[in-house]
């Protein structure tokens, strides 16, 4: 069984994407506070999803599917940035302590 070049590229991109999801999860478990964990989730997962999307777009049957995949990635980015901001803001309001920062009164 042989794989064509696009299939190999797709495989590599999807694997790379999976690696970033794994790294993001490692950050979620290992980082010391909620604020640092948000970095791990937003950045690593966005890149992971981006790579997986790119890999799948190469295999997509038509341009409608490619636009669909791009749109899903963009919507996920927008959702991640918004949710990250909301979680951080409510954590600050609740006074959740941050590592390396004097707990100060929020503006």
């Amino acid at each position: 069984m042989t794989a064509s070049l696009p299939e190999l590229v797709t495989g590599a991109l999807v694997l790379a994407g999976a690696f970033f999801f794994l790294a993001g999860t490692a950050g979620l478990l290992r980082f010391p506070d909620v604020y640092c964990r948000l970095h791990a989730l937003t950045k690593a997962d966005n890149l992971g999803l981006g790579l997986i999307s790119l890999g799948l777009a190469l295999q997509a049957p038509n341009w409608t599917s490619r636009v669909q995949i791009l749109l899903i990635w963009l919507l996920a980015l927008a959702a991640a940035a918004t949710i990250c901001h909301l979680l951080a803001r409510s954590s600050l309001r609740e006074g959740v302590p941050a590592v390396g920062v004097d707990t100060e009164v929020n503006p």
């Binding site: 690593a44 669909q68 940035a81 901001h85």
Partner: protein, 178 residues
């Protein structure tokens, strides 16, 4: 009362059509989602126009993709590194972007840049969380701010680097421009 924008109704409907492609029976969920989207968009004051130029887009997209890759690599490295190298802090930042879509876009993009996310913002003043406390943080934000200004074709109203820390000088600059 604000009026529902027909243009945005079409935009949201188009998004749904692309997402749900051939499943026209999905319009029950889609209709609810599209209507909710338009109502929220109108209610939250999303009717201010935004002009994104093709030239601005061509300047922004490569920058954004490059930064996304760096951001992912950076955080993956820190997460998997045995010593977990972090030096987190919060920093204030005052944006010169005018109120409206460009400022909201900027605040969201901060969270996708390497090592930064926006934790709070009120008017012009942002509170940004940095994964590593270094001098680069503010400079990266200024670069992003310039790129966003270019994307939306707006002018920065405060000279770059103005932070609440030097609010006196920022205030005078604001007056001169405003």
């Amino acid at each position: 009362m604000r009026r529902i924008s027909l243009v945005w109704l079409l935009v949201f409907a188009l998004v749904w059509i692309v997402l749900a492609a051939p499943r026209y029976d999905a319009w029950v969920a889609g209709g609810i989602a599209v209507l909710t989207g338009v109502i929220l968009h109108t209610g939250l004051g999303g009717r201010q126009g935004a002009r994104i130029t093709l030239r601005g887009l061509m300047g922004f997209v490569p920058f954004f993709l490059n930064q996304s890759v760096r951001g992912g690599l950076d955080v993956a490295f820190r997460a998997l590194h045995p010593t977990r190298p972090l030096d987190p802090t919060f920093t204030p930042y005052r944006t010169g972007l005018p109120e409206g879509p460009s400022r909201i876009f900027f605040v969201n993009c901060i969270s996708l840049l390497p090592g930064t996310f926006s934790a709070q913002f009120h008017d012009r003043d942002l509170r940004v969380h940095l994964l590593t406390d270094d001098a680069e943080g503010a400079r990266k934000l200024e670069t992003l701010e310039r790129k966003v200004a270019g994307l939306f074709g707006v002018r920065l109203e405060v000279p770059e680097g103005g932070t609440p820390a030097d609010s006196d000088s920022s205030a005078t600059r604001n007056e001169r421009h405003g």
